[in-house]
């Protein structure tokens, strides 16, 4: 799993799951796309599916502080590294 894979998958989730197409990586998701805390929980479920493992409470709590798409990419990359799924590609 590379950074590009992660970005592609997250963009797919946003498009199909949240009907948000081509968001700018630095958009404030709540202000610009009405992405709220419930959406964040849905996103966590999708990330768990993508990584093939459950997130810990601490990891989930961390996710609730995320505000931009770029932060989501970084967050998933960190999770993938922790689970030894990440390759620099």
């Amino acid at each position: 799993m590379t950074r590009t894979d992660i970005e592609t998958e997250i963009l797919r989730i946003f498009r199909e799951g949240f009907e948000i197409d081509q968001p700018n990586p630095d958009d404030h998701l709540r202000d610009k796309h009405q992405f709220d805390s419930i959406d964040a929980i849905e996103l966590l479920v999708a990330i768990e599916k993508y990584l093939g493992s459950e997130l810990t409470q601490a990891e989930k709590k961390l996710a609730m502080e995320i505000r931009t798409l770029r932060q989501i990419f970084d967050y998933v990359e960190a999770l993938a590294k922790k689970r030894q799924l990440f390759s620099e590609g």
Binding site: E19, D36, S37, I38, D39, I41, Q57, M64
Partner: protein, 258 residues
């Protein structure tokens, strides 16, 4: 308004408001702690028992309100009290609306501003009743995540989740912009959606007023606008379309407001 009523009304507004506040706070402290403590320690399902107690307490509140407010009548469609296993969305006109819905549903959850969860006693009630904190981070995030994740089972077991998708009270009767969180939860839980329309609670307890507006002719009306069972699995399903449909339902009915 007759001359006598002009003098009586302001006094009666103060009396009714005072009576209801007495019921709501000191009344709760006198009547309820023992019941809630018994439920806390002995109920098989603590959350459900708290919801039922909240429901009964608020039924008492509206009973008093109806009893002591001249000119007030009440039209709540009978089927509303029979709603089970549903996400319920409604327009929002007054601070009375959330407690009105609590008084209608024996098993109810809702989303509450997270600050309230920190208040003594009230915060404990909210937490133990299983309500969801509305938060985008901070200490209540884990609770919100847990409760959203458990919502499917709660709804499948007959519980209702009611929310005002406008989030804020409308100041002009028009339907405001929707938050999509409740619709996302409905999709997640594959739950049917019941759309309600509340009328005239803003005349009874106006947004900019501290006192109840008594001695006027007013009918509180709660009706079902639609029961929607979306096909969440369909490729054509769209959350935005669902929200637009619900919004259109509320707006169309609002336009027919007498």
């Amino acid at each position: 308004m007759t001359a006598l009523l002009r003098y009586v009304k302001p006094v009666w507004d103060v009396i009714v408001t005072g009576l209801l506040w007495l019921y709501y706070i000191p009344g709760w402290l006198v009547l309820c702690p023992l019941l809630y403590l018994l439920a806390y320690f002995f109920a098989a399902n603590r959350e459900s028992a708290f919801q039922r107690l909240n429901h009964l307490f608020h039924r008492g509140f509206f009973l008093l309100l109806r009893l002591f407010t001249p000119g007030l009548s009440w039209q709540v469609q009978q089927e509303i009290r029979e709603i089970r296993s549903s996400v319920i969305v409604s327009n929002h006109l007054s601070y009375l609306d959330p407690i009105l819905l609590v008084s209608l549903f024996a098993r109810q959850k809702t989303i509450v501003k997270s600050d309230f969860f920190s208040y003594p006693v009230f915060g404990w009630l909210l937490k133990t009743s299983g309500y969801l904190p509305s938060t985008t981070g901070g200490e209540f995030s884990p609770m919100m995540i847990d409760r959203v994740e458990a919502m499917g089972d709660y709804i499948a077991a007959g519980g209702n989740l009611f929310v005002f998708p406008e989030a804020h009270r409308s100041r002009n009767g028009r339907i405001g912009p929707f938050s999509k969180g409740i619709f996302t939860i409905a999709r997640r839980c594959k739950a049917p959606i019941t759309v309600l329309l509340i009328r005239n609670t803003d005349r009874l307890f106006p947004p900019d007023r501290l006192l109840f507006n008594t001695c006027i002719s007013n009918t509180i009306d709660v009706s079902i606008l639609a029961r929607i069972t979306p096909d969440y699995e369909s490729e054509d399903f769209s959350l935005s379309d669902l929200m637009a449909d619900v919004r259109a339902l509320m707006e169309n009915r609002q336009e027919q407001r007498p």
